[in-house]
């Protein structure tokens, strides 16, 4: 054909839009002007939930404008990842809800003894209260030796319950912290 790709572009720019084979492309260019186009990007990442480390692809909506906040719109298993080949467990499949969730707590809350509701609490105050109660409870319930005189160094007055969206990294720190306190009632829910 005598019409090159460059000619095609020039023709399009001049308004006499024809395809490289001479088809009338004007309707296509007219429709193109009316299209609502959304740009997404695909980011390969690793599921944070357990140590299996399944590959995920995170779809983010946003035109990369400086004042636009990218929005995660979809998370799917990475079909090219050798561990999961596109599959995800139910927790991994709901990963988008972990990233975007209007029920997510954005500040610490406390429910006082005898109360039927949760109250907001400042971070500093929350940390202070937790530290004080941990110290008090641990001191009161620490078991250094068992009934047969064996050293056990257990803290039986504290238990830890994790949540299903706790990440692998958080759970690592939880185990390190709780074991250093002697906590044995430890449940991190690091499973489906």
């Amino acid at each position: 054909m005598s019409i090159s790709r460059r000619t095609f572009l020039k023709s399009a720019a001049a308004g006499a839009a024809v395809s490289a084979f001479g088809f009338d492309a004007a309707p296509a260019y007219a429709q193109a002007k009316t299209l609502k186009i959304a740009r997404t990007s695909e980011t390969r990442s690793t599921c944070p939930y357990c140590s299996v480390s399944c590959g995920v692809i995170i779809h983010t909506l946003g035109d990369r404008a400086k004042n636009a906040i990218p929005q995660v719109v979809h998370v799917e298993g990475d079909p090219d990842h050798p561990i999961n080949r596109g599959t995800l467990c139910p927790k991994g499949a709901s990963l988008q809800q972990d990233i975007l969730n209007d029920r997510r707590l954005l500040k610490p809350q406390v429910r006082r003894p005898g109360s039927d509701r949760w109250e907001d609490i400042e971070w500093d105050r929350a940390v202070d209260e937790i530290a004080r109660r941990v110290k008090k409870t641990r001191d009161a319930t620490f078991v250094e030796k068992d009934a047969r005189g064996r050293t056990v160094n257990r803290c039986e007055g504290i238990a830890w319950t994790g949540g299903c969206t706790d990440t692998n990294e958080l759970n690592y720190l939880v185990v390190k912290t709780m074991r250093s306190l002697g906590v044995v009632y430890l449940e991190n829910q690091a499973r489906v």
Partner: protein, 257 residues
């Protein structure tokens, strides 16, 4: 996955009947697909050698329907060339140059060779006496460039959601990684952009800022009825949108878009 010529014809008829910016192109494509189907069918009971000159059937040798149809219903540029070819020896002039050096600007060569290469692929007979480019971004069977990308339906199999590329020349699909530019191999996800429009929910433009090339993806998870090579053409408005923004298509389709 592989769709039949009948699937393609039916889908093109349906989409052409729906109107839209690609209506005229699809109407022409329906006639083109019927001719290609005849060529494909003419090769059914032949023991193919992989050498096009030896395997050519009368349908390919004379290409009568193709040239007549183009003269009567094609766009002016193609009509002019078809008229010139009608008075010469078409097969040598049309098919052999494309066979030896495929180009997405060689309309008649591509139309004639596509069904032959697809038949070779179906019979697993390697094309002979032609050099073809190799590499993971080239068709492993014939070395063709990718015409489009197909996103598999997630529910189709346990391990799915992968991408296949469809060869522009033999129409064979082959598996290729996601989040990689199909043209230059760019893997930096910040350089790769995906553009969708509500008007074509199962189509998207996969673009690369590094090489400024693009191709269209057909998401079968969004529309399982889609026949990739036909639906790709139906979305020419997306091509126009991409070209206006300076992107160059990896391989033009048979509408020249």
């Amino acid at each position: 996955m592989r769709d039949s010529w009948d699937d393609r014809i039916r889908r093109a008829e349906t989409l052409s009947g729906e109107g839209g910016a690609a209506e005229a192109m699809l109407a022409f494509f329906v006639r083109l697909l019927r001719i290609q189907k005849d060529i494909y069918d003419s090769l059914r009971n032949r023991r193919l050698t992989g050498e096009i000159a030896a395997d050519a059937t009368p349908e390919m040798q004379l290409a009568p329907g193709l040239l007549t149809m183009t003269v009567s219903t094609g766009p002016p540029a193609l009509r002019e060339r078809a008229e010139r070819l009608q008075s010469n020896a078409p097969f040598e002039e049309i098919a052999l140059p494309f066979w030896h050096k495929p180009s997405d600007h060689d309309f008649f060569g591509k139309v004639l060779v596509q069904p032959y290469l697809e038949r070779l692929a179906a019979q697993r007979v390697r094309p002979r006496y032609r050099d073809h480019l190799r590499g993971e971004r080239r068709c492993p069977f014939c070395g063709g460039a990718p015409q489009l990308s197909i996103l598999e339906e997630h529910a189709a199999a346990l391990e799915s959601g992968g991408r296949q590329l469809q060869c522009a020349n033999c129409l064979s699909p082959w598996t290729y990684r996601r989040v990689v530019c199909v043209h230059c191999g760019e893997e930096d996800e910040h350089q790769l952009g995906y553009y969708r429009s509500e008007e074509f929910p199962h189509l998207r433009i996969d673009s690369c800022e590094t090489c400024r090339h693009y191709l269209k993806s057909i998401d079968l998870g969004k529309l399982g009825l889609a026949v990739p090579i036909v639906d790709e053409m139906a979305g020419v408005a997306l091509d126009a949108w991409a070209v206006e923004r300076g992107y160059e298509k990896i391989e033009l389709n048979l509408a020249g878009m």
